[in-house]
């Protein structure tokens, strides 16, 4: 299940069948909730699995089941109608008997108890939703890291070292790992802090002579790598870093401070 960025079809089918153990099922569910592609495939898998119901020996239910169903609905409607009449005003009922003095407080206590249970239930439901949200978030992060590991360990990933230019900061540099097939760019950089409102921007310089492709903006953050996606199969002649306004720019405006590659 963890070989690629998406859930394999057979695992989705196993999930749809309910045949995955709890931990794996949670991982599949978490991923599918945040992935439109896997969610669509899960819908297909559920449809494929659902037809297995037709393998059962076919038998019609007794007529009484339908009668009970509609009797239940009729009772519900009657209760609703009675409630409505009560609201608009029915004739006064006979005086309540003495035991209403017991029933009324007991009912009030029961109502308070139900309200407490309702609040407790709402609180637990909220906690459950939060836990599910966190599980989905962890799963997305796990898939993201898995994607980075896959790209870094791929045989066709190149390493490009960027060195400071005459316009850059002496002693600074960066290391870019680039997988052309996946369009994945992962890099670390050793650069000084910038004044507020400025960021560094990484660029892929295509061999075709086309304008540089942005590979994301970054600010110094220790040793954590940045990663970004560029169009797959982009031939890179070089990678370069410029200083740009916060948020980055579609076309480089600053001077190149780091450069590396062919």
């Amino acid at each position: 299940m963890n070989e690629s960025l998406h859930i394999r079809e057979e695992d989705l089918e196993l999930y749809a069948l309910g045949a995955l153990p709890e931990l794996e099922a949670t991982a599949v569910k978490g991923h599918a909730q945040g992935c439109a592609q896997c969610s669509a495939k899960l819908a297909e898998a559920l449809g494929n699995v659902a037809v297995l119901a037709l393998a059962a020996e076919q038998e019609a239910p007794a007529a009484r089941v339908k009668e009970k169903l509609f009797a239940r609905i009729a009772a519900e409607r009657a209760a609703a109608a009675t409630g409505a009449r009560d609201i608009v005003g029915e004739p006064k009922r006979p005086r309540a008997s003495w035991w209403n003095w017991v029933l009324v407080p007991a009912t009030a206590l029961l109502a308070i108890f139900c309200a407490a249970l309702y609040r407790e239930n709402r609180s637990l439901t909220g906690e459950l939703r939060e836990a599910q949200r966190m599980a989905a978030s962890f799963e997305r992060e796990r898939m993201h890291v898995m994607g980075l590991v896959n790209a870094l360990s791929a045989k066709d990933t190149e390493t490009i070292r960027l060195a400071s230019t005459k316009d850059g900061f002496p002693g600074s540099g960066a290391v870019v790992r680039y997988n052309k097939r996946l369009g994945k760019v992962i890099y670390t950089a050793d650069l000084p802090e910038l004044p507020p409102g400025k960021v560094y921007q990484m660029w892929l310089v295509p061999t075709s002579g086309e304008p540089p492709i942005s590979a994301g903006t970054f600010t110094p953050n220790g040793s954590r790598p940045w990663d970004t996606q560029v169009p797959a199969n982009s031939d890179a002649k070089a990678f370069a870093v410029t200083v740009e306004p916060e948020g980055g720019v579609p076309k480089a405006t600053g001077k190149i401070i780091l450069l590396g590659g062919g």
Partner: protein, 184 residues
């Protein structure tokens, strides 16, 4: 008034009937019940091997449709698919005494590649699926039936059959491939 159960009429789509159910049209619910009660009851009874419990789930499921029909729309996929998935999940939850498993899968969209809105289509498909299941190698059929009708995980199936986990997964995958070919 409730229409008596009779020959199924596929002139009106499930979505059209559901739309009428949202307006509390009992005849529309009756039509939907007539369309799918046989499939649902047979599926649940096969899982629970208990007619009474199957009747209870069938009644509860259609009562839910009556109460919450407005929640069903095209974004949920096929109604027939949903009703089969929901019925199975409730039956498996009851069988395995799990209170929540069913609710999760019921919230997913279900894309059914076949149309089950008429009794003729249902009969043809029942024959087809039963024929496919009958033609599967014993190991494949057993693995799929253990998962679908007994709610077993692949690990449990491996323990029950004494086969390696990989073999069980392969058998389920091959059975599903065969099924998909027939459906397409």
């Amino acid at each position: 008034m409730v229409k008596p159960a009779g020959k199924l009429d596929a002139r009106e789509t499930d979505w059209s009937l559901l739309e009428r159910v949202t307006r509390k049209d009992e005849a529309a619910l009756s039509e939907l019940y007539d369309r799918y009660s046989g499939l649902v009851y047979s599926e649940v009874k096969r899982i629970l091997r208990d007619g009474g419990a199957a009747e209870e789930i069938l009644q509860d499921l259609f009562y839910q449709v009556w109460r919450t029909a407005e929640r069903f729309d095209a974004s949920r996929g096929s109604f027939a698919g949903w009703v089969l998935v929901a019925a199975r999940n409730r039956a498996i939850s009851k069988l395995r005494k799990k209170g929540d498993k069913g609710e999760e899968l019921e919230n997913n969209k279900v894309d059914l590649k076949v149309n089950l809105e008429s009794s003729t289509q249902q009969s043809l498909l029942v024959q087809k699926i039963r024929a496919v299941m009958g033609s599967l190698p014993e190991g494949q059929r057993e693995a799929v039936e253990c998962a679908y009708f007994e709610g077993m995980t692949h690990t449990e199936i491996a323990e029950k059959t004494g086969q390696p986990l990989g073999t069980v997964k392969t058998r389920i995958r091959m059975a599903m491939e065969t099924l998909k070919k027939v459906l397409s």
